[in-house]
Symmetry: C2
Amino acid sequence: MMSAPKDNEIKNSRTSEGQNPRLSVDAVPAAARRIAPFIHRTPIIESHLLNAWLGHEIIFKVEGLQKVGAFKIRGALNALLAAKEENKLPKEIIAFSSGNHAQAVALAAKLLGIKATIIMPKFVSKVKQQATRRYGANIILTDTRQETEALAAEKQQQGMWLLHPSDNDRVIAGQGTACLEALQDGVNPNAIFATCGGGGLLSGTYLAAQALAPKAKVFGGEPKMGNDAAESYRTGKIVTLPDTPMTIADGARTLHISERTFAYLQKLAGFYEIPERDIIYWTQWLSHLLKVSVEPTSAVAMAAAFEWLKTQKNKQRVLVILSGGNVDADTQRQIWEKDYLGQIPAL
Amino acid sequence: MMSAPKDNEIKNSRTSEGQNPRLSVDAVPAAARRIAPFIHRTPIIESHLLNAWLGHEIIFKVEGLQKVGAFKIRGALNALLAAKEENKLPKEIIAFSSGNHAQAVALAAKLLGIKATIIMPKFVSKVKQQATRRYGANIILTDTRQETEALAAEKQQQGMWLLHPSDNDRVIAGQGTACLEALQDGVNPNAIFATCGGGGLLSGTYLAAQALAPKAKVFGGEPKMGNDAAESYRTGKIVTLPDTPMTIADGARTLHISERTFAYLQKLAGFYEIPERDIIYWTQWLSHLLKVSVEPTSAVAMAAAFEWLKTQKNKQRVLVILSGGNVDADTQRQIWEKDYLGQIPAL
């Protein structure tokens, strides 16, 4: 039931095997044109203090200020709008998520005037459930994360339109529009950093860079505690974690990437695996310096940039995609347990 | 040594007795023109979710995204730029502060190319000391807050130019430019809310409203724990607290307002005194909904707006000035100790 990209957005139609990216570089600009009327063009910001301390220029794309507080609305909207263009928009979609994808699908469905059912584990915070319901979505609660995915798969087999958070061409192209906007706005980076969960954001970011900044190196950041993508990159085949990694970067708690995203991730300049302490350190510092809400998953990308900058002798300009700003109270408590603001960042 | 406002900005030159505001409504637009090239025009933002929950329109002016992370740069710059216009700019200024005024004076002095010495108690966080030093200011540390003020007074008597955080006409006019910008940007509020510390922001806000929205009611919010301004308003004479109130709203820990600010505060539509629990509640919710850094002092203004809205039957449009976004790690820990995000705001 998945709608296919248009011809001019497809580069390689036989790559479900994961060897080569399936989308052409035109797919991201096409997605950007499609979703622009419905989303915020989020700001790019800098901290003069951080730049002075590090001796480099760090430019942040702030997706925490996007609708639903995360980049996720981009991919969801691109998938639904493209289906509508092709007269293939279903009357109802389903999705599974314990995070930002839930709200993104709920809002995208509302904007398109269709029904959405989101399957989520019952431990998801009331605030997130409330926000998802407010966009008119129906919520089905399950006991565990495993049951959530199983029920989604069952519904898909019954013929429902499942909007996967990353294993979807339209979603990948949509997520790439965050990076594309920053490049269109004149950022001219030597390197680009994004966090890897299922790999949708990072794949789209790679594709956007191919379109507008092909000389820029694209790196992934991943929590060391859940380093399946980095391991996959290193070994050349998809590695699956035995259990959900309980990193504070809850957007990166995925067990494995897909063949679809692996095709892009294999082409990256590298991966950095970030310890929990460094994720918390950069969450504190970015909140403090930028005065915008930064979720730990976003801080992973900055921590990766910091590791790369340690290896650089010349002054570099880097673009860091801050994926979102949704932080619940429990996570806030974890973030601020120790005080890292006494330890000023220095290379 | 204090430079006087120009004639067209003065309404009443004999009001050091505090009966009538000293500045005319022209003072704030004049300050805005003066400082505009040096500051950010901060955004005004709304939360559709909050508006839906409360059934009113709440518009926020986000001074956390101002330079130095707070409105304080406005007043400091206006004072120095006006002195420069009159060829009265000293080569060195002093200020005392344990908060945002320190960084504001340091940056303003740097921009004007003069020296600044900031006197602060030694318990001020290293982060704030570091930020103040980075702007090139000299810091003198004292053991206590009382010693800080005493040393500043001593230096002033020796002929130094002391830039007071609120008891200064130029500072008041400068602080009013935050509200003025919001009104210029088309916000047409029925009521305006700002937090009261020394009263500079609130006095300037009142003056800005007089200039562009004279029908709007202007209210002050103050921590109940340090309600000297509300008491002064009620009794008609300035009340001084016996001890520094250790409210989490650290920008409102002042012992008393001045005759100068009292002249404006007496003309307000009212004061709301906010319990600590409500300050923390709104700090959590505004951070969560707006995705920008909100310091507890700012949340006091929203809590006041909420109290007023409880009394309103018709749909209202209110402007809330969010004064700043500087929160140290200790305060963050206090803010997130309990989870209030499970309790959705409702009137």
